[in-house]
Symmetry: C2
Subunit: 453 residues, 2 copies
Amino acid sequence: MNALEYAQQNKARFTEELIDLVRIPSISTTPAHRPDIQRAAEWIAGQLKAIGFETRLYETPGHPLVYAEWLAAGPDAPTVLIYGHYDVQPVEPLSEWLTPPFEPTVRDGDLFARGASDDKGQVFAHIKSAQALLETEGKLPVNLKFIIEGEEENGSPNLDPFILSHTDLLAADVVLISDTSSRSLEQPSIVYALRGMCYMELEVRGPRRDLHSGSYGGAVHNPAQALCEIVARLHDGNGTVTVPGFYDAVRPLDEDERAELNKAPYTEDELKRETGVPAAWGEAEYRLHERIGARPTLEVNGLVGGWTGHGAKTVLPAKALAKISCRLVADQKPQAIYELVKAYVAQITPPAVTSEVRLLHTGSSAITDRHSPVMEAAMAAYEEAWGRRPIFMREGGSIPVVALMQDVLHAPVVLMGFGLPDDGAHAPNEKLTLECFYRGIATSISFLKRLNA
Amino acid sequence: MNALEYAQQNKARFTEELIDLVRIPSISTTPAHRPDIQRAAEWIAGQLKAIGFETRLYETPGHPLVYAEWLAAGPDAPTVLIYGHYDVQPVEPLSEWLTPPFEPTVRDGDLFARGASDDKGQVFAHIKSAQALLETEGKLPVNLKFIIEGEEENGSPNLDPFILSHTDLLAADVVLISDTSSRSLEQPSIVYALRGMCYMELEVRGPRRDLHSGSYGGAVHNPAQALCEIVARLHDGNGTVTVPGFYDAVRPLDEDERAELNKAPYTEDELKRETGVPAAWGEAEYRLHERIGARPTLEVNGLVGGWTGHGAKTVLPAKALAKISCRLVADQKPQAIYELVKAYVAQITPPAVTSEVRLLHTGSSAITDRHSPVMEAAMAAYEEAWGRRPIFMREGGSIPVVALMQDVLHAPVVLMGFGLPDDGAHAPNEKLTLECFYRGIATSISFLKRLNA
């Protein structure tokens, strides 16, 4: 019996084990759940130990990190690092759950429970993959490491420092993360690019104090108005960012990549239905999914200045502030983008006010070569387990740990999502389609074997 | 002995009486001072009764209104209504007062006390004027009414309803208000125009909920950005409001009026020193004091939308809001301006968002004909009492009661300020220059006599 057959025969048992795991209310943002967090970490570590991994809980200022390794594949075999998290989102509003979030229930082939999809079910698929390989073959085709954190839903405050101070421990040839979704059960997909981030604050200042708009209005440039004038000049009428040099480093889309991305089109009707906007917006020469996944943006995340309370106050505000962030694509550098925005804002700031652009934080974009051997292995593994070749997708959001691992460990990151778009990861009635769980185990087995074929 | 000589001889006594009045801590915004408010109202009423007026305290949901009348000048004599207030501003920060705010102290000819200039000393000058006339001539040259409120520093919540429901009681040919300042002791001035107000809220909406800027950024028009784009189009590069029709009703300045206003110029250096701005701003074809006094404006009083807290949140906000107010001049109608702004915003709102302009409140502008007989009388009275002909000024702010009285009582309003710009009306160490008080009494006597000369 090979590993795939073993996994097939043990579906029911693996599902029961997953149910035990999702029964633990390991909500990381709520101090009252600290014992549950500890229990979940120990449960995961116990599973990994039982199948033959060296395991250790690393304490942090927050919740513990589960680390496990099996390194008996030898120095010539590649090393794979799998990242996941055992903590879950809060469950509010509780009244909207059809069955209680920590009383796992299977309905129509879906396992309903908080954390089923995000991320316990996905990370557990890899553990079961390793178990199936070890039980049937006595060894793994690769050296395998797990790093499973308990603070992902709380912003991972202790993960970056841990990675930066444990680069030898975590050293790997491939990083594998399953914390995303496939396009559908019928059409698997692989996300190969994530956008980066450059988050800034733009402050415009005029008079040293708020002024009476009657006494000075008409002779003093209003900083809230001036802020709007500056912000309005950051895009042209096409939605293109006007900051000189902004697009210089952008890795262009070639026709091959555009064709690939267009296998997962995103229509204006879908956008309108999902968001309620009256129309789509943005760079006319790019399709909607390209604007979101493959083009950088400049967003106003917040505006504040002067009187913002109920009713009227006739103040001419001393200052106004905008939170502005750019989503970046390969190969834009966040610090360079900050410098460009800063220089352009300085250039267009009207002479009767002053302005300052402050950098709040940055994150690198991430991209994995679609044609690399590791990506080919992932494609083939999906094709074997799902019966259909996956399509490639870019995601508009940022997963900071992906860029960090890519940059610090110098390893390609494969995002092997076993969720589905309708899983409701942060919503009531979160579910994992069990077929995805089983295919996930099979995909993982196939992928690990192909890495050392 | 005539009234002016009487006032001259009784300076010391009148000053002592004013000191008794300003000793009362009639702070209208502080409930604990309610008994002091009552005491101040009764003290004023007692003064008016003692010199021969019929007086009455009108109770309101807030503090009482002092009403007094002397109507024995006969039906052919004009009737004058004097408005003032007996309540005062809070005194904080108390530590900055050189002498306690309610222990009146005379230093170098200035009377230091909260309320000395704003407005007890100014309204008291008119009471002493009436007294001087009655004591020396046995009658007044005009029918005279006083309405003195106790809530001016608290937004006069009960004054408008009282005026609207007592138009017969308050009917007058001239309204006289002394609650402003002259330009200097050497150069008296009369404010003949105040700006009106049209206060609005502009809300821009896009998606029905806040979106993740990674998942939708680039394909959805950001409402905070769209708000900035709309606001930026409300002025041109010259600071001129671009709303079509905005200036249509503006009563133009002729060369005569511009020359008059230019007797009280306001320099860019003064503006920069007072406010700290790096440069002046606004319509290049108008002088600074014209921009503030004689031109309408459109100000952004507040901006709010999306994430406004500390740090970063990558939200694509569902909506953003601006508080926008126009200061209006004669003969602009607030409601008409609202309709114009609303129509223009609808026209320039980008197609991928929606917008709404809501009217919060309005106030009329006020203007008194500089060449009217009543203004001529005021000019002559100032010239007699101050030894110099006053100059005319426009004020950029709004005094809502002025427009209301002008509109409801159909009477010209004369703003006869006896304060000085450095009185510190709402600040620590408020003072009234006693010479202004004496000249105020003389100006009032002269003015009332000239109205029926």
